[in-house]
Symmetry: C2
Amino acid sequence: MQSTSHSCPRTACSGCSLRKLCLPVDLSDEDTGRLDALTSLKRPVQRGDYLFRRGEDFRSLFAIRTGFFKTQVLHKDGREQVTGFQMSGEIIGLDAISSDVHACDAVALEDGEICEIPFDRLEALSREVPGLQRHLHKLMSREIVRDHNIMMLLGSMRAEERLAAFLLNLSQRFGARGHSPTALYLRMTRQEIGNYLGLKLETVSRTLSQFQEHGLLNVRLREVEIMDMLRLRSFVGGT
Amino acid sequence: MQSTSHSCPRTACSGCSLRKLCLPVDLSDEDTGRLDALTSLKRPVQRGDYLFRRGEDFRSLFAIRTGFFKTQVLHKDGREQVTGFQMSGEIIGLDAISSDVHACDAVALEDGEICEIPFDRLEALSREVPGLQRHLHKLMSREIVRDHNIMMLLGSMRAEERLAAFLLNLSQRFGARGHSPTALYLRMTRQEIGNYLGLKLETVSRTLSQFQEHGLLNVRLREVEIMDMLRLRSFVGGT
DNA sequence: AAATGGGTTTGATATAGGTCAAATTCCATG
DNA sequence: CATGGAATTTGACCTATATCAAACCCATTT
């Protein structure tokens, strides 16, 4: 009835509910076993924990089972740029492959559990399992596309558009995980939102208030309810 | 004395001067032959040509032998974000792997020659040649790191800092290719620089003029001479 | 040599968002 | 339940960059 290991659950990849998000590959029984072996390192993390810091040696990717994270790069004068917010089923650490050293910090914004994937073993297995190889490539490419969209956002959108795009993105991702796409709980501060969107926290706050005045949202601290999805969408336009 | 094929030179990968930049992998003779077979598709391109457009099916990556390119994503209201400027030895098209459809436009800013690499065959070969696999992963990861740095630039740097970072980056890349790191010829318009840096063309122009007044640069249209590299570096600070 | 047109520079003015500061709310902890 | 600190909101003011407009430069064509 109970797990045999209380501190480090060994839920295998094959039985993981996030399988479709994380590593959605059709495998033979044998390959499934090998993937399970590769991803058996589970670990709980607490709010505030660093998964890794910039400059540390790269060994593993991290798949998020539960929890919410941010990745950020710091300028030496203290300015920080949040490069992304990650949630369950998403994978952190791809930027470190290029140099075998982590290029950013990854911080937990709430308690959760991660699954550590030794990269050299993932590479080895993906040489033998074309579906896994293909998936890994798509994962990295998707990150590139995501980054290009953020460049578009930062380079040529106004504050309202940035915030609308941000909320719609969260809504879509929460929705895809079976949560409400309209009642969002933000796990990050206004400051962190600002550091992601290239805005100051006051501007984030003001813009949220303004959306509320116009009946687009109900905002109460970190609870955001999207009241008018269509009008919110009309702000961002799209590519 | 003469090339056997005047319109479509078949210079193999193994004899290509860009080998170190493009696919720097140690291979056996047999593998070298297979890589050569894979990259035998060379093609000249003219200024203004599109390598591909957003929405087109993805088949191949493109390695730049000579020439200069920009990639951009368009917002439907006409705003455009340049996601990068690419030069010899660099590879375009990684963003299309995620969906098998190109996510941006790639445009030649001067005449050049590209080398087309069918992606499914590259994947197949990289399954058998670990060094090639590793290199491909590093290539994609490096693009992610590059994008994160641009996010930092767009999200939290002032116009002067952005432009200084841009010029230093060009300088470094030209230098690495054996050209002068101080006498740069820009192949793009002020408008295109602005669309990359999230600035209007007037701001780009004014900032260049201002750098010139302060003795950092000599600017004459698209000729830029860096006069004070150190002081230019002090603008950007670094991560 | 004049005309055309794209790219660039420069000036005057407007504005979105930043900065600084104060008041308020919300937790966490004793 | 009181206290202190962090996060948030809101206001007043400021500034970096955008906008609009004109002049200029250079390359190319006629």
